[in-house]
């Protein structure tokens, strides 16, 4: 079980798992050997609302970091997600088609989106944010949204 950084802003509590890296847009990446599992941060899933549909690019899709790899439609917004790493998709969460709510219920666990074969994780990792940096970024975004 990952440990979390946690902050409560207004009535919302947001968690950032400390065992993975993040893009500035709130997509997490966790290395598992030569592969990287990716998903949505708790903040992004809460801000976006309940997921109605989640569509991830199919297995075999080759990605460069920054390429769109998934689209999520929620009750509030449609969001296009950029891959935090380069590589090819080797697995898509099979539960998302029938239970996209897993993204909301367990964003750092069963709500993962894709597993990507990542030939140069160290290079990709260097472009991502460590959890403490992302936590500060997310905190600022959450507080700004509360004020607006």
């Amino acid at each position: 079980m990952p440990e979390y950084l946690e902050i409560t802003v207004d009535k919302f509590t947001f968690r950032v798992a400390i065992d993975r890296a993040y893009s500035a847009e709130g997509v997490w990446a966790k290395a598992e050997g030569s592969r990287v599992r990716v998903g949505l941060s708790d903040f992004v899933q809460q801000r976006s609302g309940d997921a109605a549909f989640a569509e991830v690019k199919p297995v075999g899709t080759v990605l460069s970091a920054g390429d769109e790899f998934a689209e999520i439609e929620t009750i509030k917004v449609n969001i296009s997600l950029a891959s935090p790493v380069s590589g090819s998709i080797v697995e898509v969460n099979p539960n998302l088609a029938s239970s996209p709510e897993a993204i909301n219920q367990a964003p750092y666990g069963e709500g993962w989106l894709a597993l990507i074969d990542c030939p140069d994780w160290e290079a990709d990792r260097a472009r991502l944010l460590d959890p403490w940096v992302y936590f500060d970024l997310m905190k600022g975004q959450a507080e700004e949204e509360t004020r607006s």
Binding site: D50, A52, F53, I75, P100, E101, N104
Partner: protein
């Protein structure tokens, strides 16, 4: 059909939310049009307030709830009020079955929202009919 035989329809009362608006629009369609004589609308707020008449109604009639979000307030309140839950609908789940009907708007739903509400209302009407059949259609539901 007597009042005693009616199926209660309890929609979400959340304001400012599209899915809450869909839930209420569907409830109005059922109770004011599709199954006017077989159903009765119950305001969730009355259950929250502990209104005696509303609590007595849900305690003695089957209820269909329509929740606008995962908090499922309508379903929870019917259960807490001692009611018999015949069927609980979640607008998000309904939308997943009718993806072409994307709801937008709050005070005024868009075309997709109105179509989704109609689809939901038709499903609720079918549940009402099923309950009526189970009770023999005698008003003893």
């Amino acid at each position: 059909m007597t009042d005693e035989g009616r199926v209660l329809i309890v929609p979400c009362s959340g304001i400012g939310k599209t899915y809450g608006s869909v839930s209420r629009e569907a409830a109005y369609l059922v109770t004011e049009d599709l199954r006017l004589d077989e159903t009765q609308l119950v305001a969730l707020s009355l259950l929250v307030l502990g209104d005696e008449d509303a609590r007595a109604a849900v305690a003695s009639h089957p209820a269909v709830t329509i929740d606008g979000c995962k908090l499922a307030c309508a379903t929870k309140m019917v259960k807490q009020s001692g009611g018999t839950l015949a069927k609980d609908f979640d607008v998000l789940d309904v939308y997943r079955r009718y993806r072409d009907f994307k709801p937008q708007g709050i005070a005024e739903l868009n075309e997709g929202g109105l179509k989704l509400a109609r689809a939901l209302a038709d499903e609720i009407a079918a549940v009402v009919d099923s309950l009526r059949e189970q009770s023999g259609g005698t008003g003893d539901a």
